[in-house]
Amino acid sequence: MKANCWTGRNSVEVQDVPDPSILNSRDAIVKITSTAICGSDLHLVDGYVPTMEKGDILGHEFMGEVVEVGSGISDGKVRVGDRVVVPFPIACGACASCRAELYSCCENSNPNAGISEKMFGHPTCGIYGYSHLTGGFAGGQAEYARVVLADTNALKIESDLSDEQVLFLSDILPTGFMGADMCDIEEGDVVAVWGAGPVGQFAMDSARVLGAEKVIAIDKETYRLDMAAAQGYTTINFEDTDVRSALLELTGGRGPDKCIDAVGMEATHGASHIHLYDRAKQAVRSETDRPHALRQAIMSCRSGGVVSVIGVYGGMIDKFPAGAWMNRSLTLRTGQCHVQRYMQPLLAMIEQGKIDPTRIITHRLPLTEAPTGYDLFKNKKDNCEKVVLKP
């Protein structure tokens, strides 16, 4: 089959690879009908995530039709012919974390748990196509993929919703939603979202669905800000505006009640000296992430507010504003999305028309043009917001 493989720093290639096979009794093999390129794929391609191997198949946002199931899947759970969306975190459904609906902290699904334990103190779940740190699972930017523990890790789509309407249930829609959900939004809240990429856009939509009165988008790409403005959100371009002052002005001096960091480790910053400082520390490996967005969110948030982090961080950060966080009673909440927890309710919202996930798709390409898709998305060419690949 054809698959999009990581071949080295800043290089991906569509290659011919063997078809997947059942390795565990509760596996299913899915013929992929739609898959997407995610912002976190860029961290892998950029070489910021260690433990990549040449030939790794990328992709953790995918859906398709079940063509084979393992002998361990109990009757009726997943059947050949089912149309399924696959959540990116692999969950076992049986460990204490899974029972507490903390699926991305699953204690059993990562065969390389030892590595993630060394980096994070405790192991994290397996993820498809997302380095060997998260298990070395083959990804879904391919014609076929193996779904692990498929009875727990596949959402059946039984209505006639299109692929594009449900594909993002695999990651970015639940991730954006969890960003807003962790904010405990109350009536009248003003929510600021750093990053107007796909996850940021969905965090904004979710904040509104959950009752936010005003939503503010912060980015530097005008096409992304325009996309947010078209939904009725207020925008701040951090390249020509001082973010904290603008936020104070928009909130009568209080600061946003809730702040969402949908940027993560590779943030850029309007003030070049701070950006340079972080880049330099990153280059000598004394800091692995560039936490501009996180710092700014903490400094801007109103006292007693919530800072919700869904942008991906990988390692250690410097100059964390612990003083602001502690002295102003801020709550910091975060997590890789526990996708399985949100899939069903979000599917219902899509069916009811409360959320339209298709609004962020700007590019549709055949799988064979995946490298082009990465180039468009990474370099923000041609106003690229989200690329969907069709095998």
Partner: protein, 312 residues
Amino acid sequence: MTTDTRSTSSLRHDPLVRGLGWASAALGVPQVVAPAGFARALGVGDAPRHRTATTAVGVRELAAAAGLLGRPHPVWLWGRVGGDLMDLTMLGRALKNHDGRGLGRTVAATAAVTAITATDVYAAVTRTRRSSPMELTAATTVTRSPDEVYTLWKDLERLPEFMVHLDEVRVTGPRTSHWRAGAPFGRTVEWDAEITQDVPGQLIAWRSVDGADIDNSGEVRFVPAPGGRGTEIHVSLRYDLPGGPLGQAAARYFGEEPHQQLDDDLRRFKQIAEIGEVVRSEGAPGGKRARGEFPQHPARPLTEDELKEALS
């Protein structure tokens, strides 16, 4: 924690140690029974002080024989070396004050004791390779009841499913079993084990019986976790690793770092207890194992040959 001793059981089957034990007996018996004749045979004369010295040496030889054959310990070998040095000193003095009668025999005896001394030094040095009794402990929590977890662990023949360095465990009796395991440098070690404590739902303890390649013992305790979280599993293992720190460093180099191995074993046990099997990925088709952590198979489907190898 380290000591200077190699395990008793492996010395008991050491041909050199046994040979030296029998040699001590062969020398000690005539020295004690007929000291005068023995002294004359050495060409040192049978004056009373020679007879007394010979008897004393004989007693020492018999003690060494009993030690080496009965409860072998390197300390007996070093005792022999000390005795050899005393003998050489006495023979040296005898040579110096020699009256010429039987000088050839005394020279020959001196040469023989020199050769014996060399053998004893060799045996003592090589049999005192430092070994380190090593204690490992690890714990995990499993969302199952203590009874379920106990039952799963008690099924000894399933142990190799999660203890991947074990090739086979065969139950040989109600409390006994035979174990075969891979060791560094492609070697295999085997031992018989017996269960020393067995409290259903709470505790299993075992130890290797005499003759094990590596003496070892262990204990697993199953403790109800607070708040209905299932069962805490506390494992402690004790190995008598040959080769001391050097051996451990070499083992580590080949990815057999013992603590990591126990940690991996428990992770796989948890997977089997909670979801019924060990989770495999394309990058780590054999499941969790430190040895295979790097380099891994790329995260792409396996070819048919790779698949056969991984699943075998």
